[in-house]
């Protein structure tokens, strides 16, 4: 199902802190199936890719997401997103 060009679209993903370390890259552009409509769908799909993603999202509720530099919830739509970020709870300040 995912092998046809029309059924996926490229998404730019960026990762920070231990999410980045577990996945093993700081950013990548991946072909994501159109069925993945929300951030939660994307997380589920990523977890199936390999062990690194599975580890990064093993406690999915803890990982935060942002679309185009704005914090979003898991149910946020991916429509029109240019850059999707995943990261642990912030510890700045």
């Amino acid at each position: 199902m995912i092998d046809s060009l029309t059924e996926t679209r490229p998404l730019k993903l960026v990762y920070f802190a231990w999410v980045r370390e577990r996945i093993g890259v700081a950013e990548e552009t991946v072909e994501v199936p159109h069925e993945a409509r929300t951030v939660a769908d994307l997380v589920n799909w990523l977890r199936g890719r390999d062990e690194g993603y599975e580890m990064a999202f093993e406690n999915a509720a803890i990982v935060r997401a942002a679309i185009d530099h704005v914090h979003v919830k898991p149910e946020a739509s991916l429509a029109g997103a240019r850059e999707i970020a995943f990261f642990p709870p912030m510890t700045g300040g």
């Binding site: 920070f16 231990w18 942002a66 704005v70 914090h71 642990p88 709870p89 510890t91 700045g92 300040g93």
Partner: protein, 151 residues
């Protein structure tokens, strides 16, 4: 009034930021500053490494600062956050809020810090005194509670 937000590797100068907000003005009654410094945690820590999300860090702190400007009658607001390797005793973050009266300046500075702690995309990792790299600092429930006060 447009808040100043800067994300930078280099150190900042508290005095210069206060002077920039208050120079040639005679309508400011209160200047509140907050500087967050790196502690050595009783000798355990050699440095803190601060990772950030470039672009979003500026945008998010800008949104929080804009909200502070909406909520309090400020005459000036500055937020500066550093990234990179920061050693004990060094400065990490600065907030300066000025207003006619002290309550607004105090509240805006505290609000900005509380939100910055929980919403600005920065992550701290410990570099230990024994030369090893420690873990990522965990977010504190305390900080969420502090931020929730302002809702």
């Amino acid at each position: 009034m447009f808040p100043v937000v800067r994300i930078q590797r280099e150190d900042f100068d508290l005095n210069a930021e206060v002077k920039a907000l208050s120079r040639d003005r005679v309508d400011i009654g209160a200047v509140v500053t907050f500087a967050g410094l790196c502690r050595d945690e009783g000798g355990k820590l050699a440095a803190l490494e601060l990772e950030h999300y470039p672009g979003m860090a500026e945008a998010e702190i800008g949104r929080v600062a804009a909200e502070a400007v909406e909520r309090w009658p400020l005459t000036g607001l500055v937020a500066i956050h550093r990234y990179g390797l920061i050693r004990p005793g060094e400065q990490i973050v600065l907030v300066v809020a000025t207003s006619r009266h002290r309550r607004a300046a105090f509240e805006a500075a505290e609000f900005l810090m509380d939100y910055l702690k929980t919403r600005a995309p920065f992550w701290k990792r410990e570099h230990l005194s024994d030369g090893t790299i420690g873990g990522w600092v965990e977010a504190k429930a305390d900080d969420d509670t502090a931020a929730a006060r302002w809702n």
